[in-house]
């Protein structure tokens, strides 16, 4: 099992329960789309699986690692090597070039600069952004930014890819291209993909879709 959630709950400081006793599993190599309206808890779910936040209760295991029990050092290593994250707003560092943004996880992992640069260059070429390596985020279009974000998510060759509304800020054509690319990664590289979206049409790219509302799963297709 690539991802396993058992009785996961999460509430924010105001006491509002965002996730309520979630049970969920994703097999290795699956492409699962979690579909639901805004505010239903999709991003919180993805943040927990990505190790960006901690659950209040329950057990969360990804690639055999029990996230709820990891200390900061191990959880950081997990974020660095086990999951690649694509955010809706791409969240690239504005003062680093495209190449340096992609290098960032490798630098954080302690890879020598030259090695990090080579890996980043290869990933940029893979997402067809090789020629834009020296450009800063402000000099790139929405689709190009998302491609750079994908390259950054892939630079440490993680087995799991998490995507939070990756097409939310893109026009239909560009968004379609990004989704096709993610599908290609799933099929050709065998990456486990978990994508959350509010657009029901996106479910066609996934092997399985799960509906979510008010912090609960409603059922699978």
């Amino acid at each position: 099992m690539a991802i396993l959630l058992q009785d996961i709950t999460k509430a924010y400081a105001r006491g509002t329960a965002v996730l309520q006793h979630l049970n969920f599993a994703v097999e290795h190599g699956e492409f699962v789309a979690v579909v639901g309206p805004s505010g239903c808890g999709k991003t919180t779910l993805l943040n927990l699986i990505g190790g960006l936040d901690r659950p209040d209760g329950g057990q969360l295991t990804v690639q055999g690692q029990a996230l709820h029990a990891l200390n900061d050092r191990d959880l950081s290593a997990y974020r660095n090597r086990t999951v690649g994250f694509i955010f809706q707003l791409n969240w690239l560092h504005p003062r680093l070039t495209a190449l340096e943004n992609v290098m960032l996880p490798a630098l954080v992992a302690g890879l020598p600069n030259a090695e990090a640069r080579d890996s980043a260059q290869a990933q940029l070429a893979f997402v067809s952004m090789g020629e834009f390596a020296r450009r800063y985020p402000a000099e790139l279009s929405g689709g190009q930014l998302q491609r750079v974000a994908i390259a950054r998510a892939l630079v440490m060759s993680p087995p799991v890819l998490l995507a939070d509304e990756p097409t939310g800020n893109l026009d239909e054509k560009t968004g379609h291209g990004i989704l096709e690319f993610i599908t290609k990664l799933n099929r050709e590289k065998g990456l486990t993909v978990l994508l959350v979206t509010h657009e029901p049409a996106i479910r066609q790219f996934a092997t399985r879709a799960v509906h979510m509302e008010n912090g609960r799963f409603l059922g699978a297709e």
């Binding site: 919180t44 943040n47 990505g50 960006l52 936040d53 901690r54 900061d72 050092r73 950081s76 290593a77 997990y78 974020r79 660095n80 090597r81 994250f85 955010f87 707003l89 969240w91 560092h93 003062r95 680093l96 340096e100 960032l104 996880p105 630098l107 954080v108 992992a109 302690g110 890879l111 020598p112 600069n113 990090a116 950054r152 440490m156």
Partner: protein, 430 residues
């Protein structure tokens, strides 16, 4: 994250934010410049003026004179200090040694060439035990009695006499100022038994004696000219044998644990008066201590304000960089790595700011020293090397290290607070 990668990211960040980097460095630099300049002044005062004041008033040695009948400007001694007083003092448990100061009891006139001008003046000469001024004797010179009549009589001159000449006589007569270096080794003559005042009369046996200045003393009790006491005893016996031996002052060395103030009160009851110059120097020392304290408080306040600004600036910068911290954490940086990265950046900024502060303070010190040398009179209490502000390597290195440490200290609370949050929280509020 390894050091190389950390340095790479620090260099990228600082390089991409030149205006912010310059602003932070300038803030630290100006604060450090004021702090270091004040510190250089404090070191200069402590190392030169306080040291000279301390030398002027050796520990555990006090000078006493006979209490006078004081009518303001008219001060009349009641009776001279005699051997009986010396013996009484020697028997006191607090006293280690007593050195009597013997006055010349007949007129003396000094004459010599001063920068091409022949001068003659009456002088007051006292005899003292050589041990009392040994530390003031110039290197290679001797202050002791010798039977050889060809050897010049060694003379110690008060530094304050030189000050009086430089500030008064030299200025009034358009003569150049004299330095200590010039004075040491000078030869002049004293005419025993002669005076420039006819009323005092001239002795038939009057004779000239060659003298050599072998040192300058800052001891406030030794105003005028002093020579070894054995010469004075012999001169007094030669020119006024009928006068009984008496002393103009006594220099008393006390045992190490003695309370000087209590002893001075005891001596006052014996009809002796502790030297008022000592009190003046004590007040001067107290004034200098207050000055140092004010300087320290002022510079510490300046530094506090400077680093409060740095703290404020860094807090604002870090608020703007929450997303950056969240991003670093999201791609796998540990909390310690992020703290190290931002602390390293703050340390580098602080060190650069410190370097700027060191350079400004160094140049300011040079400038102030040049101005003081040009406009202040050559007073003996002022530093001999004319360095009022002492700015050395330890201060420069210490300044940079302090700036770096203080910058890290100012940044650390904000970084720790920010990195204590989950990456999702840091990214959510961007």
């Amino acid at each position: 994250m390894r050091t190389g990668q950390r340095l790479y990211l620090i260099r990228k960040n600082l390089g991409q934010n030149k205006a912010r980097t310059a602003l932070a460095c300038a803030g630290v630099g100006i604060g450090m410049a004021i702090f270091l300049t004040a510190l250089a002044l404090a070191i200069g005062i402590q190392g030169n003026i306080v040291k000279r004041l301390r030398e002027a008033m050796p520990e555990r040695i006090i000078s006493v004179q006979r209490a006078a009948f004081d009518l303001g400007p008219l001060r009349l001694p009641t009776q001279p200090i005699t051997n009986a007083d010396v013996e009484k003092l020697k028997k006191m448990p607090e006293v280690e040694k007593v050195w009597p100061q013997i006055p010349i009891t007949f007129p003396i006139r000094a004459e010599g060439n001063l920068i091409g001008v022949e001068l003659t003046t009456d002088v007051i000469v006292n005899g003292i035990e050589p041990a009392l001024v040994q530390s003031d004797v110039a290197p290679g010179k001797t202050f002791a009695f010798t039977m050889d009549p060809k050897t010049p009589v060694p003379v110690m001159v008060s530094r304050y006499l030189l000050d009086m000449y430089n500030l008064g006589y030299a200025k009034a007569n358009g003569l150049p100022e004299l330095s200590e270096k010039w004075a040491i080794g000078r030869h002049f003559r004293i005419i025993l038994g002669e005076s420039t005042l006819p009323a005092l009369g001239n002795d038939q046996k009057a004779r000239a004696v060659n003298c050599e200045v072998v040192g300058l003393t800052s001891n406030p009790a030794l105003l005028g000219v002093v020579i070894p006491s054995e010469y004075v005893r012999r001169f007094n016996y030669e020119f006024s044998p009928q006068k009984p031996p008496q002393f103009s002052a006594l220099h008393i060395k006390l045992k190490p644990t003695v309370d000087i103030d209590a002893f001075e009160k005891k001596v006052t009851k014996m009809g002796l008066r502790p030297d008022s110059q000592r009190e003046l120097i004590r007040r001067a020392q107290f004034f200098v201590k207050i000055l140092l304290l004010v300087l320290f408080v002022f510079s510490a306040l300046v530094l506090f304000v400077a680093f409060s600004n740095v703290l404020n600036t860094f807090s604002l910068i870090l608020l703007q960089r929450r997303f950056e911290i969240g991003l670093l954490r999201a791609v796998g940086a540990t909390r310690a790595a992020v703290v190290g990265l931002f602390s390293g950046e703050a340390a580098l900024l602080g060190a650069i700011g410190g370097l700027i502060g060191v350079l400004i303070a160094f140049l300011l010190s040079l400038l102030i020293n040049v101005l003081c040398r040009k406009y202040l009179p050559a007073l003996s209490i002022l530093p001999t090397d004319q360095r009022f502000l002492v700015f050395g390597w330890p201060l420069a290195i210490g300044g940079m290290a302090l700036a770096a440490l203080a910058s890290v200290g100012a940044t650390l609370p904000t970084v720790l607070r920010a990195t204590g949050r989950q990456p999702a929280v840091l990214l959510r509020h961007e």
